[in-house]
Structure formats: C-alpha cells, structure tokens
Amino acid sequence: MLTFKSPEAVYLALGLSLIGTSLVYLTQGAFAIPFTGVIDTLWTAEANSDLTRTIVWDIRLPRLALASLTGAVLGLSGAVMQSLFRNPLADPSLIGVTAGASLGASLAIFLTSSQLYSAHSSLIVLSGGAFCGGLLACLLVYLLAKSATGFSVSTMLLAGIAVTAFTGSIGNVLEFFVDNTALRRISLWRMGGLDAATVMQVYTLLIPATVLAVVSWRMRMALNLMLLGDSHARFLGVHVIRVRLVLISAVALGVSTSVAMAGTMAFVGLMAPHFVRLILGPDNITLIPASALMGALLLTASDLVARVIIAPSEIPAGVVTALLGVPFFLFLLRRHRNAL
C-alpha cells in the first residue's frame, strides 16, 4: 500500500494517543480516581489524600511505565527482527526468543537458589539468565532458518515452535528438581506479569531498552539495505555480519529483559510494526521510532483493558495481546501464504 502521510504527524498522533491512554489508565482500576484527582496528584505532591497518592505514584505509575516501556521494546524488537529475518511474520514470541528467555530466567533462579539476594540483584540474575536463553534461542532459529537463498518463513516458524516446545519441557522437568524455595520463586516470577510492577523493574528494563533504541536507530539504513539481500547490502557498503550480530544481541537483550521484568506479551512485536507499515510504509527510518510508540500504545491499552474488564479483578495483559494478536497473525499468514 502506498501512503503519503507525514511521519511527524504520525509520531504526534501516536504520542498524543499514548498520553491520552496513560491518563485514562491512571484514573481507571479497582479504585476509580477522578481525572482531576490524577492531575492534581501528578502536578502537586501533597494535594490529595494519601490513598490516592499511593495508588497513583506507587501502584499505577510504575505499572504504566513498565507496560509502555515493555510495549516499546517489543514493538521495536518486532520491527528490527522482521527486517533482519527479511520476513514480515517474525516476532520475538513466535520464533521462540521469549520462550528461551523464560527458560533462561527459570534456570538462573534454579542455579542460584541456594544464595540469598536483595531484590535488585535477583532482578539482575533473572535478566542475565533470560538474556542468555533469549540470545541462544534467537541464534538457533536464525541459523536454522537461514539458507543460501535467504530465509525460509516456514523453517523459521517451525524452528520457533520447536524451541518453544523444547524450552517448555525443560522448564517442566526443571520443576521436579528444584527445591521448594526456588520453585516458589519460579512460579511467583511466572505469575508476575505487569501487576506488582516496581520502579526497580522499570529501571532495570530502561537500560536494555535504551541500548536497543540507540543501536537500531543507528543501523536503520543498514536494515533497509539488508532487505535486498546480504550480498546486495555488502555491495552498498554494509558490514552485514557485524550489523546482524549486534542487532540480534540487542533484540535478545531487550526482549529477554522485558520477559524477565514483565512476563510474556505475545504478538505485540508482530502487530506494532505492521500497523506502522500500513500507515508509513516499510522504511526503517520511520518504522523504528513509530513501532516503539505503537508498541507502547498497544501494550498500555491492552493492560488498561486487562485491568478494567472484570474489575475489581483483572486478567494478565498477555492474554489481551494474544486475543488481539492471534486473529491478526492468522490474517497475515493468509495474506503472505505465497511467501511460505
């Protein structure tokens, strides 16, 4: 589809929607806070009752920040991955990166279960384990799906299924061997999605998110050229192998840390770049920033729905993104079936 919309207008629209959604996000929930109450609490430190202040500052804001940051990381990772794999169906959760990261995090808890941790060092151990698992899964799928003539979509998706199934069963086996403390920590972590988000989690994710954003923005033009083919890109001056290794590592770092901090949010990385491409076209120069914004918007909106739909109880945000994402994925599969 050819489009002639200005990127600036799209960034602005996405940014305003994100701010609007965030404000609604802060007012809604098990305890409704009027809009003016939220604004007052955000602007002036002491204007409201302690309860409103605690809910906004200690519960909803960290969760909002974690949701939007996770969404941005996933949207950006999806955009980068689809360009790297030269394939519009690539998504961190579909090709097994999140599953690998998830197993890596469990293993990290298992291997360090005898030691005692402060809250922060345990976050770092989790992230480290998740990163190793995610990177391994990513490289494995990449090597399997790559052939002399490019990438096979079917091999990529099948390899992703295999990695997900394999890591899942290893994870199950692991549960037989861990002691009670570790098991409790693993299941606590597995259950933990965006609820119980803390400022510490946001900070931990902020570093990989920044790395990913800087690296992918610097390599935006190389990503465009690599869509032509590896040799084509080299003839245009791109160090293809170096770019690919750096970007795969950055994506694995971002996605794995997001899994460690917020759990698995399926399909955000698939949907966000697609929506952007429909509006702005496939150029990575606009795709990269807009996908980050779109991912943040998608996950924030999904988490808002997840929190209010059966209030005062709530469902995990990953369920909402999957409910949105699966039909979308099937639609894409149908549209791209010739490329399989």
Binding site: N87, P88, T149, S231, H232, G237, H239, G281, P282, D283
Partner: protein, 263 residues
C-alpha cells in the same frame, strides 16, 4: 582511450568442499571495457563474479581492483567504486520503486539535488516512469529487475560524469526483460563504457552478449575455455564443445558483431 586495468584477476580459483568450482582464471579488465561471461548452466559464472568481489572465498590467486587488492578496500569505500547486481533479489516489503532506487545512493553523503537528478535519470534509462505509483512487491518480474538495475546504476553516478576506475557487475540482469528493454539497456551500457565504466555482464542470450561486449570469456565446468573478442570466441567449434549446439555464425549487418544461428 583508457588502458589502465581497473580489475585484474590472477589465477583465482574456488573450491567448495574439496570440489573445484572454478579452476585458475586470469584476466585484465580495462576502464571502459565490457566483458561478457558466457557458459552453460552451472558453469561457474556467478561463482566467478562472487570470487571477484570476495563474496565467495578464494582458494588461491588474487584480485586487484583499482591498484590494490580487493580485500584492502573498506566496504564503504568500495561501494563508491564497485556496484554489483546479484542474480536474485529478496525484497519482500512494500517499498516504492523510488525508495529502492534511492538505496543506491546510500554510499554517498546526502545531496538532495544530485540524488534527485541521478534517480530521475535512472528512472528514465530503465523506463520505470509508469511503475512509480505501485509498490515494489506488486511490480512484474521484469519491472522489479529494471528497478534493481536502476538502483545499481544510481550507485555509480557520483560524482557525475566520472566513471573511470569504476566497475559494474551484472549477473543475468535481463532474465525477465523483453527485447526492447534489453536493447535500450545495452545501448545505455555502451554509453557508460564510453565514459570509462568497466562492466562485467553475464547473459544467457549469446547474441545479446555478443552485441554488448568488447570481449567474451567462455566458461565450462569451472574452466575458462577462452577469452577474446566476440569474433574469436563465437566459433561453431567452441560453441559446439561448450553448449552442445550446432550453430552457424553470421555477422550483424550493421554492427559487424557475430550472430549465432542455431541449425
């Protein structure tokens, strides 16, 4: 006339898993010269192009480009002097033809007016004006191919009018093109070579190649069977030995280039 060699291959050979893909080949390519590579399917034509540009690792020999070994060039610098179009392109995303051609300008610092002029010129040369409103993925095979040719042409036009010491490699660029576009592009390649550009061209159509090239290199099973002017190479015996065809050679009444008639 241009006489200094742009590219020199000194007994380059390629091996893949103990199987010889390319037996030692040596040749010079001078500025402004068009070298045509011909040979049956699987003869090693694409491998030869790959070996010249280090896309395929060499087992022996060396390639000198612009006075220094080709591996001594940084990729960024080389991209300003050497453009190549591999046989297959994988682009599956909806870029506009304009954006695809613009990719050919990335080796150079951005210069809006020059870029625009070069792109417009390449659109005209490749007859793409009618395709610009459709995304790349919806173009026909021939239109995609012309779009890619336009991209590599745009890569070489900088600074404009200086093409000596530059090299263009094209692997089967005409496989989906109709004769009209083939002829127009061959004429354009001849114009570029007059401005000093050296070109290596792989084509299946032997007659088109004979019209386009100053010299022909004939490959079979990885060995060079001969290199020389079209008249020297296109002999019934050599064609019979390589392609297993019975052919008679006449010459084009206007250009004098040899013409193969299948018997």
């Amino acid at each position: 006339m241009h006489s200094n060699p742009v590219l020199t291959a000194r007994s380059i050979e390629v091996e893949l898993g103990h199987k010889t893909i390319l037996s030692p080949i040596s040749f010079d390519l001078r500025a402004g010269e068009i070298l045509g590579i011909m040979g049956p399917n699987g003869a090693g034509k694409s491998t030869l192009l790959g070996a010249l540009t280090r896309e395929v690792p060499l087992r022996g020999g060396e390639v000198v480009f612009g006075g220094k070994p080709i591996q001594a060039w940084s990729l960024e610098e080389r991209a300003q002097y050497l453009a190549a179009l591999p046989q297959f392109t994988y682009l599956q995303f909806d870029f506009t033809p304009n954006e695809v051609i613009r990719m050919g300008r990335t080796p150079y610092p951005r210069n809006r007016t020059l870029d625009q002029r070069v792109i417009e010129r390449c659109i005209e040369v490749c007859d793409l004006a009618g395709c610009l409103s459709r995304p790349y993925t919806q173009l026909s095979g021939g239109e995609k191919q012309r779009c890619q040719i336009a991209r590599v042409l745009a890569q070489l036009e900088d600074p404009p009018s200086r093409l000596e010491s530059k090299l263009l490699l094209l692997d089967e660029p005409f496989s989906s093109l109709d004769v009209g576009h083939q002829q127009a592009l061959i004429k354009h390649f001849r114009r570029l070579s007059e401005r000093g550009l050296a070109i290596i061209l792989i084509l299946h159509d032997i007659n088109a190649l004979a019209q386009a090239a100053d010299r022909l290199l004939i490959l079979d099973k990885g060995s060079c069977l001969g290199i020389g002017t079209p008249n020297e190479i296109m002999t019934p015996v050599l064609l019979k030995n390589t392609f297993k065809v019975d052919a008679q050679i006449t010459s084009n009444p206007i250009t004098g280039a040899p013409w193969m008639n299948l018997l």
